[in-house]
């Protein structure tokens, strides 16, 4: 198999991370009343972005090791 699965997983979660992070920064604080006052979009966006980037990092390193 030539498709490194970490690539699409990393990409998808990085995109989700950026989307949630951006929405968390822009959205009105009042919507976080239900999530116990925590800006969960911001924090979980960061978690997803970190997870996505780690996956992408592994995938790109493996690709680099194999050569172009």
């Amino acid at each position: 198999m030539n498709l490194d699965l970490r690539l699409p997983i990393g990409l998808m979660f990085s995109i989700f991370g950026v989307m949630l992070l951006g929405y968390g920064l822009l959205s009105d604080a009042s919507i976080y009343a239900r999530s116990l006052g925590i800006n969960v979009n911001l924090w979980w966006g960061l978690v997803l972005l970190a997870f996505g980037l780690v996956m992408l990092g592994f995938a790109l390193r493996a690709r680099g090791a194999r050569g172009p």
């Binding site: 498709l3 998808m12 979660f13 989307m19 929405y23 919507i31 976080y32 239900r34 969960v40 979980w44």
Partner: protein
């Protein structure tokens, strides 16, 4: 289900997240399609997938929407005892299939579970298994499709038919393009999405109820209100001495034998839906490690799927006015635990992620059913009985066609399941009739070389018949005679709960099949020589040599570690 739930309004960010997910799922199918050259690529992913990917797919294929919704419902209805479906009803069987059974499944080069039965026993045993299995997969995928569409209609106000068509078309597209490889790759993606999509819900819920200790205190109120001992919702084993002292209405023997042995081993060790993921592995050791690697996240899943239900019932009982809407019979509608919790805690943004996770779980379960169905249909029914001896290209085309009509049949089945309040109970019932005796057949087939084809076939029939007869003569407390039992006119015994009734149906089916297979085998001549059985039966197969591997890669060591950790979890939450 009633209609007292206020609709959740999704924002554009929520739809955007769902859209990105759909794009990735279809994109993976599109990229993988070029690997599909022959039928083995389509049905078995060319036997080339690494163990960790197979392991996560193994788990994900089982983690359908009915599991996520049903387990949370059980968490609310029965509390911590639901963890038995994992720590007792899954992990030991997963270890067993990896260490002891995979050498025969993978080593025999059988392309499906029914095909193994043909190699080991005979044509009729295979035929019986193939046809019942094909029916069962279509039914399961129909049930989960129905559940999902009903749920989306209820909480989002989406059109029922649109949900059915949309989800069916996407699953159809990616399996049609890339076959099992596409299904497996997407299952891994879905696995991460399910975990990362539901985790914030669990964390927020736990924080809200004051952590585990706070939850236990609130569940104490739930239990005493219902007339059970204080810890009935927060202990897994402590209240199993009699059926009357726990909400599940089972005692330890029925639970351990019925769920822990018969149903669990019957599912994890013989169900092609999961076994197929391991058969796609790149090597024998990878195949054996597949269920073992899957067992590690599996043992933590109660926190992800049962805990939301437990939190929901705790909040429901302790907040004035309640949280869960009432079902048609007046009790809380447990099946709504997950969507209600999603709406309760998650703001726009994370809400979209949570719903996408729910959608992902639905798709992984449905794809699991569809890939298992198209393989069994093409190899075990079409190639065996309808059109043998055609070219590989012909069967590949049939696989594509089977994917289409498998999904069409699921859609038909989606309109058939409404009678049970708890979807898991209904699935248990189906498995009890068809799957419960099956494990006796495999156990004897793999470990007793004297077992014959006639013994296996008639043993299976007797086991399935015994299940139906038992179910027809007993009833659970308060249930009307009919689909729920007692349909043979007289009711000989009344069980305290539907769950107990199902466990005992399974125990009786398994025992009848086991005894009947042995007796009939001894009375009939062997139909396979020892030479034929090499690689199919334990005593005639060379042992796996795992000496050259590091300890953490050896199936036996890995299995022991997994069992040890599971025992610790059982003790912590005793």
């Amino acid at each position: 289900m009633c209609c007292t739930v206020p609709h959740i309004n999704l924002g554009s960010v929520d739809y955007a997240i769902l859209g990105v997910y759909f794009a990735f799922v279809l994109g993976i199918g599109w990229i993988v399609r070029r690997y599909v050259k022959g039928s083995e690529d389509f049905f078995l992913a060319g036997r080339s997938i690494p163990a960790w990917i197979c392991g996560l797919a193994f788990l994900s294929a089982n983690l359908g929407a009915q599991e996520v919704i049903g387990m949370a419902a059980s968490g609310a209805k029965y509390g911590m005892m639901t963890s038995h479906f994992y720590w007792l009803g899954a992990i030991p069987a997963m270890v067993f299939v990896g260490i002891f059974m995979m050498p025969f499944y993978y080593g025999s080069r059988a392309r499906s579970v029914p095909e193994y039965l043909k190699l080991r026993f005979d044509e009729k045993t295979r035929g019986f298994n193939a046809i019942t299995f094909a029916g069962m997969t279509v039914l399961s995928s129909g049930i989960s499709m129905y559940a999902l569409a009903k749920l989306l209609e209820l909480v989002l106000g989406w059109n029922f038919h649109m949900s059915v068509v949309l989800s069916a078309v996407i699953v159809l597209a990616y399996i049609f393009l890339g076959g099992l490889t596409s299904a497996i790759y997407n299952e891994v993606l879905q696995f991460f999405l399910i975990v990362l999509g539901f985790l914030p819900l669990v964390l927020l819920g736990l924080k809200d109820v004051g952590g585990w200790d706070g939850l236990v205190a609130k569940l104490g109120i739930v239990a005493t209100n219902a007339g059970y001992p204080d810890g009935a919702w927060s202990n897994s084993w402590r209240h199993l001495d009699s059926a009357a002292s726990n909400p599940m209405g089972v005692e330890w023997f029925g639970l351990a034998m019925g769920l822990g042995f018969v149903l669990s081993f019957g599912y994890w060790c013989t169900d092609f839906l999961v076994v197929q993921r391991a058969m796609a592995a790149e090597s024998m050791t990878a195949a054996r490690r597949t269920p073992l690697l899957a067992a590690i996240p599996k043992m933590l899943f109660p926190a992800l799927v049962i805990l939301p239900g437990m939190i929901a019932i705790a909040l429901h009982t302790t907040t004035p006015g309640g949280l869960l809407p009432a079902g048609p019979d007046g009790t809380p509608n447990y099946n709504l635990a997950v969507p209600v919790m999603l709406a309760h805690y998650l703001p726009s943004g994370l809400l979209g992620l949570g719903l996408t996770a729910l959608m992902a779980s639905f798709m992984s379960g449905m794809a699991g059913n569809v890939t298992a169905f198209n393989t069994v249909w093409t190899y075990d029914i079409y190639q065996s009985y309808l059109r043998p001896g055609q070219s590989d290209r012909h069967y590949l085309r049939m696989g594509h066609a089977a994917t289409v009509f498998g999904i069409l049949l699921s859609v038909v089945a989606a309109y058939a399941a409404t009678r049970f309040n708890n979807i898991m109970d209904m699935l248990q019932l189906i498995f009890a009739f068809v799957n419960a005796p099956l494990f006796a057949t495999f156990l004897l087939g793999m470990f007793w070389r004297r077992a014959t084809g006639h013994g296996a076939f008639f043993g299976l029939l007797i086991g399935t018949g015994a299940a139906a007869v038992h179910h027809g003569l007993v009833l659970s407390q308060g249930a009307p005679p009919g689909l729920k039992g007692g349909f043979l006119g007289t009711v000989l015994h009344t069980y305290p709960s539907e769950m107990a009734q199902n466990f005992w149906t399974a125990i009786i089916a398994w025992t009848s099949c086991f005894v009947a297979t042995i007796l009939i085998s001894l009375l009939t001549p062997k139909n396979k020589s020892d030479d034929d059985l090499r690689g199919l039966v334990y005593s005639l197969t060379p042992r796996q040599q795992d000496g050259g591997m590091p300890w953490y890669k050896r199936p036996a060591t890995l299995g022991a570690v997994v069992l040890g950790l599971t025992a610790v979890l059982n003790i912590i939450f005793w």
